[in-house]
Every structure is written in structure tokens, then in C-alpha cells.
Amino acid sequence: MRPGDEQWARVKELFEAAVELDPNQRAALLDKECDGDEALRGEIASLLESDERTGDFIEKPAFAIPRDLFPDNREPVAGRKFGAYQLIREIGRGGLGAVYLAARADDEYRKEVAIKVIRRGLDTDDIIRRFRNERQILAQLDHPSIARLIDGGTTDDGLPYFVMDYVNGEPITAYCEANALPTTERLTLFRKVCAAVTYAHQNLVIHRDLKPSNILVTRQGEPKLLDFGIAKLLGAGDELFTQTIPALRVMTPEYASPEQVKGDRIMTTSDVYSLGVLLYELLTGQRPYRLKTRTPEEIARAITTQEPERPSSAVTKADRPPASILHPRFLRGDLDNIVLMAMRKEPARRYSSVGQFSEDIRRHVEGLPVIARKDTVAYRTSKFVGRHRMGVVAAALILLSLLGGIVATLIQVRTARRERAKAEAISIFLGRTLYAPDRGANGQPTVKEILDDASKRLASEQLADQPEVRAELQRVIGESYLSLGQYDLAEKNLTGALETQTRIGGEDGIAALKTSVSLAGLWAAAKGDYAKANQFYLAKLPRLRAEQKKGTLSADYLTAALNGVALLRRAQGDSRGAEALLREALTLLPYLSPEMRNNLGVAQAILALTLADQGKFDEAITIVREKIAAVREKKKEPSAELAANLTGLGSFLLENGQTGESLENLREAEGMYRKLYSDANLQLGDNLRLQAQALFSEAKNSEAEAQINETLKIYRAATSPQFINFATALMVQGLICGQTSRIDAAEKLLREAVRIRAENMPETHFLRATANGALGEFLTAQKRFAEAEPFLVSSYESLQKSQAANSPRAKRARQRLANLYEAWNKPERAAPFRAL
């Protein structure tokens, strides 16, 4: 009997229990547990019998090595035939295969070719797949500067091989030196290389391993690109949307881009980087990084963190400056900027394409202004993260980071047509949706319109026979809705995707796990459905960790999940637990996709720590200001990222008492949100709530009321009262009513806020304390001192425990108590709180 999957667990359980028992007890156990299931009983009995007799069966992992276990790879090759070709000699040997010089065996013409064959012994499925990959890539490339695929086949003993142009040339750097090429000619040659790489990109191929030894120049001075051994077809990924494709050919790692070193997704801009390094070397005679030991770690660190010296300065230090290299002043300015722009650490800040890079060189040569500018913006986010590794987190900001991660997914969807697609169906589907040509020239569709259209077509499209693809699309659409604040639509699509994925791959399948992470994020951050989210996280967090460790789940998802759990822990008042989770999330930083890393979520989360626990508002404000300056520099037009930062700044300024400036920033962000999103969403709601708080502080009650009314309208439509900021909004509305003589309404609202907080949060949570404080303040104003006192005392005591002594929240609680006792005519009791 071969037990099926579900039965296996049972067999295992009983076997393990029985094997521990004496033989006579075993029978009793099996009688009882198998309960007449003879097949099961027989299976276990036969396993137990086998167990009795295993002896040393496979116990000793020992074998002698037969002399011929490893066949000799270096057998003479000359004369061996591959199809119509006869080998002449070995000319190269890579990790996977050997390259031979060969010639056609017939007398017609003795054309020399290069033949690449997999090495015997390494013909594993994986490696054969990679090898065929290269062959397939070469087959679709036909360009004068790319070594051509001529033929292919399988040897008599089944090894695949392929035949390509034999390039008799030398590496581009050596060629330039040997011929003492002047700079302009180097640039011209380099632009020919760019043209070949652009051609490859247009054919959806990223080379990923551009370096001098792969770019040979013939005697005629023509460059030829070789070795697409680790190139990747943009459309041939295994896993959707999160795949990372690093490819560090480690012999010359200096040409690898930071994203390759870090194991992030490789894009066409990774080739831009490698070409930048090549140009650096061509112009200066030097590699860009100064390395002492050349260990992998040092190289990786240099590539990801070290700023290369400007070419104009490096050229003066070359040991052996190329005879023809120009005076540094010819490099200073344009060429410095062009090279360094191509080599920026963040892919998004490089030239967007090799064509643009090449074009900028042409403009420089022709004396036209170039695009490249001196890079003045430091990498603030990463530096910030380096500086602030402590802390807990504010919920609203966690929310931003969660949603930010999802925005990243949308960005990936946008590039889906070119960069992705397990299934062609996906590319076609999204291609049609996102690049639909029939959109009017005047009316750019909003993202929401695109998504609505996509989900409608998903329902009607012929994808019934590809449920996995369909579910994947549904997930992406769901996540995109989530990023737009369309929570119901998001939940609908995510739930739909999850059902299918669970049916196909089980709830622990990668696809289902990913969707669940987004869904739990939605529950925790937007819907306020903490119980549901908590249940998921408790059950699956270990699984997510394990999958990420194995490399089967991208760190983006684990990070999103950790952020979500931290949010929950904080909502439960467990800041320490939240802090530990965020620290764990921080350790994943190097593995995040650029989109996820660049979003301010992580930095913001840590900022919030500073805010919430240490009262270090000034520093927090400085950091957000820097971030805003960086975002503005990068992109002139309004963006969700900029709006989120402005809102964050507004909230810090508000808590720090700088209400006027807070309002300016909040209003600018509000304008952006209204422009970016056709419908109101939670982010706008939070922004308006902060505005209402600021206006209320400035005693502009009617303006404040208008804002808070719209806030609550948005909250009610988009989320539930459990949502962490909902009660805050009620408090603001209540306090406004209190100031404008609507006493009953005010009291009702404030008590409602206190009730919601008490129902959803532990007693120690600072948000309960602030609600109690607001109610106490109102009661004080009503001269109901005795009623106010317990609320204010409890608020004060709680905040004193959970907040830094000089934090504005703690100060405010003290002030409220002092005000109470003064109004109550008990100045002696007010004094200690004033003095503090």
C-alpha cells in the first residue's frame, strides 16, 4: 500500500507512537487506534517489522570511491566531431561548460566557430536548463555586435551544445590600451557596445554580466558581445512579481550592480550600471572601487556603500595612465557626471535606459547640454536607517509602510509587460490593460479606472483554464486597490485570489501565503479587524520566516507581515514586542526589492519610535524634511510618496506645537492626494484629521469642524470603528463640539471614543490614556471636576509609564491635571504638576 498524503500523517503518527513501545503493547495500540482499518494496520505493522530488521541498513554513510567515479574532463578533443564541426582545441572553460575552437569539417569553406558544451558530470537538469536558456537567448539575437548563434545540437552521449561565431579579438579595455585610442574614439566604441546592449534589451534580454572579458574587439575595431550565459529573458521568470535574479559572476565582481550584489531584482538598469563601470575604466584606466582584500564581503560592501571617486580625480592616480587619456579637466564636469549617473546605487536614479546613457554621451561629444547632473542628494534613507536602529513604531506610519509596499507591487505590475511573466497570458492581459492604446489622448485614465477595467476583463477573459494565472492577477489587482485605499474592492479580489490559490497549492503554498500577507495587512492596517489579522499572523509567521530563509518567499512579504504584526502588538500596548519585530524587519533590509526599500516605510516606522518614546521631535522633523527634499529633487510632480512624507511631517510638527507650519504641509499633501486619487481614501482621511487637530489648536473651530466631518465620512466609508485613528477623530469632533457649546453632543462623542478604545486596547495603551485625557479636559471645562479627576489621573499615570517624561503627550497630561486643580480651586494640588 502506498498511503496518500492525508493518510501519511496518520501513518507517521501511529508508527512513531508504536515504535516506542514493547512489541506486545504495540498490538494493543494498533488495535485501538486503527479501529478496524486493516489497510492502515497492515501498513504500520509492515513498517514496524521493517524497523526491527533495519540493522545497519544505510546506517553508515560510507562508500569507497571507485577509481573511475569522476570521469576525466580533459580528454583530448582535437578531431572530435560535433555535427558538421570538428574540434580544433579548447579555448575557454567556464563554470558550466567548455568552449572549443572548431571548423566545419566539409571542404566547402573552413569557417572557424566556437562551440560551447556542458561539462560532463554537470549535466544536471538545472544546469541543462540554464544552458538551453543561453542558447534560446542567443537564437533570438541577431546584431552585428553580438556573437551570433549558428547552430546547435546534442552530442552522441546526450549533452547539448551550440555553435556560435568565433570572435578573434581582445577585451575592450586591452584593445583601447594597446591601440592608445583617444578618448573620443573610446566613446564611439563604447556607444557601439551600448547599441548592442540596447538591441538585447529591446529583445527582452538583460545581459547581467557585462565586463571587458565579455566584450571583445576584433582587429577591424568592431566590438562583439559574448557570453549570455547568465543573461535572462525578461519574460522567462519562474515566479511572478517578486523574483530576484542576481547573477554575480564572481571572478570580476566589480562590474556587478548593487542590486545584483544584494540579490535584488535585476532590471535593464543593472546593465546601465555595469556599462558605467566599464566606461569608468575606459576613461581612467582604473576600476572605481579601492579594495584591499577583495573578499566577497569587501567587494559587496564597496559596491553597495562606497561612492566611487570622480573619474577626473581617479585618472590622476592611475598607476599606468593610458597613454591617450585626456587631462583631468576634460573629464571634469560632463563626463564625471555621466559616468557617476550611470553608476548610482539606486537603479531608479540612473539613466533609465542604455539608450539614454549613450545619447547623453553623444550630446557631450557634440557639445550639447547633458542630462546628467552632479549627484547632490545623499542616500538619506539608508543613512537614516543606519543611525536609528532603535525603537517602536507609530501605527499610522506603519500603515504607510504597509501600503507603500503594496504601491511597489503596482509599480511592478506596470513594468509587467516588459519585465515579467511566468505565463504569457499575464503579459498580454496586463499589457492590454495598462497600455491600452484606445485611451483618449486628453484623458489619461486614472489608476482606479485601469484597475476597474482590469478586474472586469478578468471576469470575462478566457483564463478559466489557467486558474493560477487568474489568481495571481487577482492578487495583484487586489493589492493595487489596497494601495489606492479601495479596501472593499481590495478585500474582494484578495479573498478571491486566496480561495483559488488555497485550493491549488494549499494554504501554505507560496502563492496563498503572499496573498494572505496582503489580506492580513488590509485587516490590520485599514479595516481594524485585529482579531482576524492576529489569527493569521500567529498561525503563519513561522512559516513565512522559514520560506523567506529558504529563498522561496521574497523578503518584501516577510517585512510586510512583520510590520503588520508590529502594528498589532502596538495596538495591544506591547511596544516591546513591536520593537523586536521591527528590528527583525530591519535585518531584512538588504534583501528587499528596491521598490520596497526605497519607500519610506521602514524609515518612517523608526522615526515614529523616536517620536513616540523619546520625544525627539526635532530630529524626527529634520529627517522627514531631508527625505522630502530628496523626493522633490527626484521627481517634480506630486506623488503619493511626497504626500505621505508631507503628512508625516505635518503630524510631527503638530505634536511639537508648530501648528502653522504643520497646516502648510498638510494642505500641500491634501492637494496631492485629491489630484492623485479620484476617490477619497484613508490617507486623505488621516491628513484631514491632522488638519482638524491643528485648526482646533489654533481655535479655528468652524474650519476644524469641516475637516473632521469629512474625515469621519471617509473613515466610515472605508473602515471600521476599530481602525486605530477612528476614535481619535471622534475625540477631535467631541472637543470641537465642547468648544462650540454643543455640550451633549460633545460628551457623547468623547465617551464613545473612550469606549472604543477601552474595548479594543489594553489598559496600558497610550491611546486609551489620550482618550481619557480628552474626556477629562471636556469635563473640566464643564466644571464637573469630580467626574473629570479620575479620567485625568488615570491618563496621567498611564502616560507617565508609557511615554518619555518630556514627550508632548506626557506634558499635556500633566497640564490637564494642573488645569483641573486650578479651576477646582485646589492650587496646592496643581502646583506639583505645574512644577514638573
Partner: protein
């Protein structure tokens, strides 16, 4: 300890692997294969002909030679041994298979290594049958199959396997016992069926 380019490379690939590189296993194999081959040759040249080299000892030695332990984590170690054990299995089974074809009936496939197998073993192990049975076990219980691969072909101890798979050595021991019983039964039955035929 030598510092060879291969050492840098392997360490690098392992770090990439932890970073989520799906191609890392394929990139790692050539290095591990080369090192296993190099070590095997070295032994065969140096040792007396009657000295038995244990294939699985190779895996440990390859690890020491290829991986810079000061910069790698247990996760890297896990990946390395996973690949090495897989490769060793492939090499040995391929070898057995090709000799079975060559000397059908000659029993070469049972790798006549009786001297290193305990005398109580009922018969020497048919590696091809073991490989087939392991594939079946993989479908039923991936972890048990992996434990067998790491232990039998990779020469790892239960403690090491626990580290590699991130489970307790006790779990490894329990799973190992059942896997052994299951595999033995499958192989014997198959043999018997074959004999009857």
C-alpha cells in the same frame, strides 16, 4: 587555510542564495563538483590502494576548503550541504546505473563495499533502487527524504542535519528511523518482486 578564487566564489554564491537568488544552486554545483573531483583524485593518488576513502568524507572536506566559515551563517552551511549531498547522490547513483547497464547481472550496482557495511546488513545496497525509493519518499515526505540524502549521501550527523533543516536533532532521529524502515521495506519488496518475475 587556502584562499582560492573558488573559495571567494562559493562564499559569494552562498550569500547570494540567502539573498534569494533562485539560480544559486545551479551556480554552486560546478564548484562543488570540481572540488569533490579534485579531492577524490588527490586521495586516490596518495592513499594505499587498499585504503577505503569514504565518499561522504569528501563533502565535509569540500566544505572546509570551499567556504569561508568566518563570513557565512548556518543558513549558508545548510545550502552548501544540501547541494553537496544532492550532487554526491547523483554522482554515485549515475555511476551505479551505468555499471548496472554495463555489467547487467554482475552485481556491480550493489557497489561491493561490503567491507564498509556492517556484517549484519542483509545484503549490500542497491543504490539505484535506493534512489528510486527516495524519489517516492520525496513525494510522501520531503523532509524524511532530505534527511536520508543528507545523512547517507552527505555524511552529516543528526545534529548537523538538525542545523541544516532547522529542526531539533530529536526530530531528525525520529524521522530517520521511520524513513529507514520505509525505504528498507520498499527496496526489499521491489527486489523480491523482481526475483519472482
Amino acid at each position: 587555510m587556502i584562499s582560492s578564487p573558488a573559495r571567494e566564489d562559493v562564499t559569494r554564491v552562498l550569500i547570494d542564495w540567502s539573498g534569494g537568488d533562485p539560480e544559486a544552486p545551479a551556480r554552486l554545483m560546478p564548484f562543488v563538483y570540481d572540488e569533490l573531483r579534485r579531492l577524490a583524485r588527490q586521495y586516490l593518488q596518495r592513499e594505499r590502494p587498499d585504503h577505503t576513502l569514504q565518499a561522504t568524507g569528501l563533502v565535509h572536506e569540500a566544505y572546509l576548503r570551499l567556504v569561508d566559515q568566518s563570513t557565512t551563517t548556518w543558513q549558508n552551511r545548510a545550502h552548501f550541504f544540501g547541494v553537496a549531498a544532492q550532487l554526491m547522490r547523483r554522482i554515485l547513483v549515475d555511476y551505479a546505473r551505468s555499471h548496472r547497464a554495463e555489467k547487467r547481472g554482475g552485481g556491480w550496482d550493489k557497489l561491493a563495499f561490503d567491507e564498509v557495511l556492517a556484517p549484519s546488513a542483509e545484503r549490500s545496497i542497491d543504490l539505484v533502487a535506493l534512489d528510486d525509493a527516495l524519489k517516492d519518499l520525496l513525494a510522501l515526505d520531503p523532509r524524511q527524504s532530505q534527511i536520508v540524502e543528507l545523512r547517507f549521501f552527505g555524511g552529516l550527523t543528526n545534529e548537523e542535519i538538525g542545523e541544516v533543516l532547522d529542526v531539533s536533532p530529536r526530530t531528525v532521529k525520529r524521522e530517520w528511523r521511520m524513513a529507514k524502515a520505509w525505504l528498507r521495506r520498499e527496496i526489499i519488496t521491489e527486489d523480491d518482486n523482481a526475483a519472482r518475475r
